[in-house]
Symmetry: C2
Subunit: 207 residues, 2 copies
């Protein structure tokens, strides 16, 4: 194997992860054979498994990268924004995310290692979500009458539903409006009178 | 095979479906071998496949029965109630529902027949949900400022998330409170003042 620089190694790793993600999304974990992974990545099995111990390690690295990206967006813009971007993404990207998630859900049912990994990822996402909710509650934009833990779990449950929905390739018709409703449900309620559209500033609560 | 009455046939069919549901939930579609199905049902393969053409037909019959039960509860008590009962159900029942759903989601990604079936089931559930929302809007208990189609899709998305969550055996901690929040999000908003807990009666809208 020729010697490569640190940058080349990182670029190669990224390329493997991108190709593997597409391959897992399309064929599922079991269906993503080494031959198909080679084709999707455009590198030999020797080059691929120089970077990742085995197929399971490669899959978990893909999932971990997805979760890190999501946690970054959550910290900056919130979990609803993650969902909006997922909804606006091209179909192949949707299929990639949804496919990874569905594969984890399925394998997690019978494989404790997978489940443990998913719990850790889910915990990282929950932490980012709760941190953001807490900041927004302090700023008076998120409702304070419902526990932060409940709001976070609610948003996560909608995300799980959205990903499952996209994985099935079901119609996305009203989903943009559904996300508006979801966002409205965690924000400080607007006055019920017509035309009262200004968010009221309230002292935040630190749950 | 001995001759049996109509009642006995129906009872045998029900027994097969119950055993098969548990078997599919535990082993997944591929893992539910004919031998395992025999053990779970307590009947020979001959007896089982006298009633159902093949494993796929058996699985789809299980899924169809689940959806019918859900649509019945939805029509009477609403989709949130379906979710509450699912949450309160013993673990094995949760695993059964969630397992079936997850299996459909996974196979539906690659198998158009499965996807088509699931869409039909999902449509029946949507119809029941919308009918109930319309009745409640007319009675003034469901909010009229959001389209009925959006409210229905919102509830379905939460259901999909809940089932996915249960399938993964993730902690159910706050989910009861999350369902309170979900229910509150589709109902006519209560006054924002403290102690104003009475639902206001508003003229309903037929979307």
């Amino acid at each position: 194997m020729p010697r490569v620089s640190v940058e080349q190694l990182a670029a190669r790793r990224a390329r493997i992860l991108d190709g593997a993600r597409a391959c897992f999304a399309r064929h599922g974990y079991e269906g993503a054979t080494v031959r198909r992974l080679e084709q999707a990545v455009g590198l030999s099995r020797g080059a691929i498994f120089h970077h990742f111990r085995d197929k399971e390690a490669l899959f978990l690295a893909v999932a971990e990268q997805d979760t890190e990206r999501m946690a970054d967006i959550v910290a900056e813009q919130g979990l609803v924004q993650v969902m909006r971007e997922l909804l606006a993404a091209p179909e192949e990207l949707q299929a990639g995310w949804a496919g990874t998630f569905l594969e984890i859900a399925r394998r997690g049912r019978t494989d404790p290692g997978f489940r443990e990994h998913w719990r850790r990822s889910a915990d990282a996402l929950t932490a980012a979500t709760r941190q953001r909710l807490r900041r927004q509650a302090a700023a008076g934009t998120v409702r304070a009458d419902v526990d932060e833990a409940v709001l976070a779990r609610f948003l996560e449950l909608v995300l799980e539903g959205l990903v499952s929905h996209l994985a099935m390739d079901l119609p996305v018709g009203e989903l943009g409006s559904v996300l508006d409703l979801v966002e409205g449900s965690v924000r400080v309620p607007q006055g019920t009178r017509e035309g009262d559209g200004v968010l009221s500033a309230r002292p935040g609560r630190t749950a």
